[in-house]
């Protein structure tokens, strides 16, 4: 990983990887969505609305995973001063905010036919909403630091402190048993969902993850190109 902290080496990986991530992500997502909409049976209790699972769960995982990425980039910036870590943090934030917002929106849409309400101040819903606001704060702070020509250390500290919210989101369904269901899917096995309903989920999960990765790579490439252009302009002005 340390090797890719070099921008030139990172770009040699990122340029071909962007296309691969996009192509493979779209392919897996199309297969997962087709399976989720047209192949899997309706749930005996939730009926057709269970199909929202295949888009809601990936957006929730990526909303949280995005902040885990920001926290890792922040740690790398504070401890090792990796030149790419601030760029990575700034690139992850809009993608993470988008998926956190999509998680809240799809959860609300799912809640109406299932719980009879669009919104409830439930532990899981509220902590997810806080995560979305944390993303907005991080984006504003990182942009302000970049404008001032700072290294982004305040944003990095914010990224680390904000990670406290991740275990709160994860355990909220255990700590506050209100409306949101408890954990029913586990990557280590033991899911309580029937296999004939569950199989499209890994496809949409990996598909959305690859598209998330493609968006982050593209934002990092844009940021690095801007840095190169600014450096060239500064040199031109100095000559």
């Amino acid at each position: 990983m340390h090797g890719y902290a070099n921008p030139a080496r990172f770009l040699r990986f990122a340029r071909p990887a962007t296309g691969w991530f996009l192509g493979l992500g779209l392919l897996l997502l199309a297969a997962g969505i087709a399976g989720g909409l047209f192949v899997t049976p309706p749930d005996y209790l939730q009926g057709e609305s269970v199909r929202i699972l295949y888009v809601h769960v990936p957006t929730a995982w990526l909303g949280m995973g995005g902040w885990a990425g920001i926290a890792a980039a922040s740690l790398a910036q504070i401890v090792w001063r990796h030149p790419l870590s601030a760029v990575a943090g700034r690139a992850i934030a809009p993608a993470g905010a988008t998926f956190a917002a999509l998680c809240l929106a799809t959860g609300s849409i799912w809640g109406r036919p299932t719980w009879g309400t669009w919104w409830e101040w439930d532990g899981r819903l509220t902590s997810m909403l806080i995560l979305f606001f944390l993303y907005l704060g991080y984006i504003a702070l990182a942009a302000a630091e970049r404008e001032r020509g700072g290294e982004g250390r305040m944003a990095a500290l914010f990224g680390l402190v904000g990670a406290i919210n991740l275990p709160i989101i994860h355990y909220s369904v255990l700590w506050w048993r209100t409306l949101h269901q408890g954990q029913s899917i586990s990557i280590t096995g033991g899911s309580t969902i029937a296999p004939e309903l569950l199989w499209p989920l890994p496809l949409t999960l990996v598909g959305f993850s690859l598209l998330f990765g493609a968006a982050v790579l593209m934002r990092m490439r844009a940021d690095l190109a801007r840095v190169r252009a600014e450096a060239r302009l500064r040199r031109a002005v100095g000559e």
Binding site: L22, I33, L37, Q46, G47, E48, S49, R51, I52, V55, H56, T59, P94, A95, T98, A101, L102, A105, T106, I109, W110, R112, P113, F208, L211, A214, A215, M218, R219, R221, A222, D223, A225, R226, R228, A229, R232, L233, A236
Partner: protein, 43 residues
């Protein structure tokens, strides 16, 4: 209650949001890389 309008709204919103994010990231990358390339080629 017919659940399909809720299902289609959730899928439409998620796909629209994801494709919008990708389009924005793609366009901003192309613009920044083209600008950097133009500056590089300037004598």
């Amino acid at each position: 209650m017919n659940h399909w309008p809720f299902v289609l709204a959730a899928y439409g919103l998620t796909l629209g949001g994801t494709l919008g994010l990708l389009a924005w990231a793609w366009l901003s990358m192309r613009a920044a890389e083209n600008a950097a390339e133009r500056l590089k080629q300037r004598p």
